[in-house]
Amino acid sequence: MDKSLTFESDNALLEGLRNSTPAAFEALYRRYYRMVAKQASDQGIPDAEAEDVFQEVLFILVRKVREADFTLTAKLSTFLFAIARNLILKKTGDKKEIATEETALFNLAGRQQPENLPDREMAEAQLDVVAGCLELLEDDCRRLLELSFYERRSQVEIAAEMGYSEAFVKVKKHRCLDYLRKHVKAHPLFKHLQNDAA
C-alpha cells in the first residue's frame, strides 16, 4: 500500500498533525518534500539545507494547526507551500534566521526578551530546568500539562482524550502543576524561590 495514501483527506491529515502522528509527517514528506526541495534548489539552497527547511515547515505547520482559532481556508498543500516559500525567501532573501524554539518561547504575552547575554542564558537555563522537571512527572500528568499548555486543548477535549470528567481535568491540572512547581523550585537555579516551595 502506498503510504502517502494512508491519509485520504486534508482533515484526516490535520488530525494526524495535531496529534503528532509519525505517519502523518511521513505522508507529507512523500507528497510534498520533492516539490519544496526543488524550489529550494532553484533558489540555490543545498539539498542538506532543504531537508532542514522541510523539517522546519512541518514544525511550523503543526504549531499553526494547533492554534485555537485555526481554520483551514485553502488546501493543506497550499498552506504548507506558503510556509515553505516564506522560509526559503528568508534563507535566500534578507538572510534572517528562522525562528528557533528558544526565541519563539519569549513571545508569551508581556515578556521582554532579555537584552544581555547572561540574562538570556539564565532564562534559557531556567526553561531547560522546567522542561527537565516535566520528565519527572507521571505520564498522565505530563500528558495533561502538554495538552493544556502546549497543544492548548480545551478541558472538554482533554476530558475526552484522557477519559476523565471535565471537573477532574481541572483538579488534576492544578495538582500536576503543583508537582511541577515543587520540582522546579527545588532546583538551584530557582533557589530564590525556595522559601515559597514548602
Binding site: 500500500m1 488530525e15 494526524g16 496529534n19 503528532s20 502522528t21 509519525p22 505517519a23 509527517f25 511521513e26 514528506y29 518534500y33 516539490m35 519544496v36 526543488k38 532553484d42 539539498d47 532543504a50 531537508e51 523539517q55 512541518l58 514544525f59 504549531r63 498543500s77 497550499t78 507551500f81 515553505a84 516559500r85 524554539e101 518561547l105 519569549f106 508569551l108 504575552a109 508581556g110 515578556r111 531556567q126 526553561l127 531547560d128 530546568v129 522546567v130 522542561a131 516535566l134 520528565e135 505520564d139 498522565d140 500528558r143 500539562l145 502538554e146 499548555f149 502546549y150 482524550e161 484522557m162 477519559g163 481541572k170 502543576l177 511541577l180 512547581r181 522546579v184 530557582f190 524561590l193
Partner: protein, 277 residues
C-alpha cells in the same frame, strides 16, 4: 496558591483577559511584588512546558526524517521534478507530472532491485517496505465492529473500554489508547487483543524493545487468533534491533511455512530480500 489565583495569572499570560481586566491586573502587579514574582514564575513554567513540547515535536519529525533517510528517500535527484511551489494549481500538468514521476520511480525501482538481486537487503529498508500500519488499523476496525456493549445506558463496561481504546488507536491518539488498553489489560490479563494493540502502538512509536516484550508471548500462544499477526510484527521489530536479524529470520520462516497464514507470500518475500540464495 489557590486555583483562582493561578487561573487569573494564566488568563493574563495567555492574553485571555479583556483590556479593563488586564489593566487592573497590571496595576495590582505594580502594587504587589508577590503577585509580580508569581506571574514571572508561572510565565517561566508555561514557557518551559512549551519548550518541552517543541522539543518532542521536533524529535518526532526528526525521527520520521531519519527513517526516510535510512530508506534512501532523500537520495533521489530533486531536479527531476519540474514542479515549483509557486505554481502548483494546474491539475492536468500535475497529473502528467505524477504519471511521469511514477514511471521514473517504477523504472528506478526495477533497476534497483535488478542490481540488488544477489545482495542481502538492509533490515531497515526491509522494515520500511513491509511495515503496513494501515493493516493493523483495518484489523482494529473489524474488531471494533464486532464488539457490542451490553452495559446499561451511561455505564461504561469493559467491552466499552476496549472498544474506546481501539477507536482512539484508529484515530491516532496513541497515548490515550495505551492508557485505556493498560486499564483493560489489568482487568483482563489474558485478553490477546489488548496486548496485541499495546505492542502495535509501541511499534508505531518506535519503541521496538517494548513492542517485542508484548508481542513475543502472543506470537507463541496457540490459543490466540492474533498469533501470526503478532509473529509478523515481532519479526519486523526484530529487524530494528541490534543483532535481531537471525531471530527475525526464524519468525518469517515460521510464517512462510504456514499455509493458513494469509500473508505467507509476504514472509517469503522478506526472507528472499534478507537472505538471498
Amino acid at each position: 496558591m489557590n486555583e483562582q489565583y493561578i487561573d487569573a495569572i494564566h488568563r493574563y499570560l495567555s492574553g485571555s483577559m479583556d483590556a479593563a481586566e488586564s489593566e487592573a491586573f497590571e496595576a495590582e502587579m505594580h502594587a504587589n511584588p508577590t503577585l509580580k514574582n508569581d506571574v514571572e514564575f508561572e510565565r517561566t513554567l508555561l514557557a518551559g512546558i512549551e519548550l518541552a513540547g517543541d522539543r518532542a515535536l521536533r524529535n518526532t519529525i526528526g525521527t520520521v526524517h531519519r527513517n526516510l533517510k535510512s530508506e534512501g528517500f532523500f537520495q533521489s535527484n530533486v531536479s527531476e521534478s519540474p514542479i515549483t511551489i509557486f505554481h502548483v494549481s494546474k491539475s492536468s500538468i500535475m497529473k502528467r507530472i505524477l504519471a511521469i514521476a511514477a514511471g521514473l520511480v517504477a523504472i528506478a525501482a526495477g533497476v534497483f532491485f535488478f542490481m540488488q538481486q544477489d545482495k542481502p537487503a538492509d533490515p531497515n529498508t526491509v522494515f520500511t517496505q513491509f511495515y503496513k500500519p494501515q493493516e493493523d488499523v483495518q484489523r482494529a476496525q473489524k474488531i471494533i465492529a464486532s464488539l457490542e456493549s451490553y452495559g446499561l445506558a451511561g455505564v461504561q463496561t469493559d467491552t466499552d473500554t476496549l472498544k474506546q481504546a481501539l477507536q482512539l488507536y484508529e484515530a491516532g491518539k496513541y497515548q490515550e489508547s495505551i492508557a485505556l488498553l493498560k486499564v483493560f489489560s489489568q482487568l483482563h490479563p489474558d485478553n490477546d487483543t489488548a496486548v496485541y494493540y499495546l505492542g502495535v502502538i509501541h511499534m508505531s512509536q518506535e519503541h521496538y524493545a517494548k513492542a517485542i516484550e508484548l508481542l513475543l508471548p502472543l506470537s507463541r500462544s496457540d490459543a490466540s487468533s492474533l498469533k501470526n499477526d503478532a509473529l509478523w510484527n515481532l519479526g519486523l521489530c526484530l529487524l530494528k534491533t541490534e543483532n535481531g536479524k537471525e531471530d527475525a529470520r526464524d519468525a518469517f520462516l515460521k510464517l512462510s511455512k504456514d499455509n493458513s497464514y494469509p500473508n505467507q507470500r509476504g514472509a517469503v518475500a522478506v526472507l528472499e530480500q534478507l537472505f538471498p540464495e
